[in-house]
């Protein structure tokens, strides 16, 4: 073993907080980390999701309670903030879903090219945002 080989540089990620913002993630990298983030977001907000499901299904009266949180608000949180939370959940679900389909495609086709990685990542990002806007418009009565 030469001296050079024995004294290899060590990277312990101690400066992670200063280093991370300067990394440039490729599109596929964004899709990947957002896949994880969207999943975690849905995990954390799951009780809220089930609360919405509960009230929307149970009765006319509870349905009115459910729609009311998006106008009147919930406790100290205003209605528009609840709408934003719902929109974030819509995006989270759509991104996670489409990125998941991309994963399944890559699993089924054992060899995908680097170009496919980039193009499919772009499609994932744009499609999820576009559908978020469409569903958001639907949910908030724009059409």
């Amino acid at each position: 073993m030469t001296e050079l080989a024995r004294k290899r540089p060590e990277f312990r990620n101690i400066n992670a907080l200063t280093d991370l913002p300067s990394y440039r993630l490729p599109a596929a990298g964004w899709v990947s980390i957002l896949h994880r983030v969207s999943g975690a977001l849905m995990f954390v907000l799951m009780p809220f999701i089930i609360w919405m499901f509960d009230n929307s299904i149970t009765s006319e009266f509870s349905y009115a309670k459910f729609t009311a949180i998006f106008t009147v608000g919930c406790g100290f949180l205003p209605g528009w903030m609840m709408k934003l939370v719902a929109l974030a959940l819509v995006w989270a679900y759509l991104h996670h879903f489409i990125a998941g389909l991309r994963h399944l495609y890559m699993d089924a086709h054992h060899a995908v090219s680097k170009e496919f990685g980039k193009s499919s990542a772009m499609v994932t990002l744009s499609l999820s945002i576009a559908l978020t806007l469409v569903l958001g418009a639907k949910l908030f009565g724009l059409y």
Binding site: G39, M46, P47, S56, I57, T58, F97, K138
Partner: protein, 122 residues
């Protein structure tokens, strides 16, 4: 890798059971995707704002309730694998991670139970 895997040398952390969970995530994902398409199609193709009748009507049929139940169970597995992977990637101390595993499972099982109750108004 150590060739000794018993007694005090046995590795008990990590995802050595990788293939089963990997496959479970994919299979549950497909089921949930199918479910999503069924519900989404009904939602998108109604004109005007969706009222209670139409929304509750989607989940009224028994077959839909059974399908939704299967999806809830599938979600339990799918989310568990995903969340366990997150803890595994970022939390190194085993004791802390065990606590988070337990909390996550309780969280998920509680949510699943509530959702099933809603579905059948038990």
């Amino acid at each position: 890798m150590s060739s000794v895997n018993y007694g005090s040398k046995r590795i008990v952390t990590g995802a050595g059971y990788g293939f089963r969970d990997w496959l479970a995530q994919r299979v549950t994902a497909l089921l949930m995707a199918l479910f999503t398409l069924i519900v989404l199609a009904q939602v998108i193709f109604t004109s005007g704002p969706i009222g209670y009748e139409q929304w509750a009507g989607i989940f009224a049929a028994q077959w839909m309730k059974v399908l939704t139940f299967c999806v809830i169970v599938a979600m339990l597995m799918h989310v568990w694998v995903g969340i366990r992977d997150i803890w595994m990637d970022y939390i190194k101390p085993v004791g802390v991670r065990l606590g988070l595993h337990i909390a996550s499972i309780v969280w998920l099982v509680g949510c699943a139970g509530w959702a099933i109750q809603v579905l059948w108004r038990l």
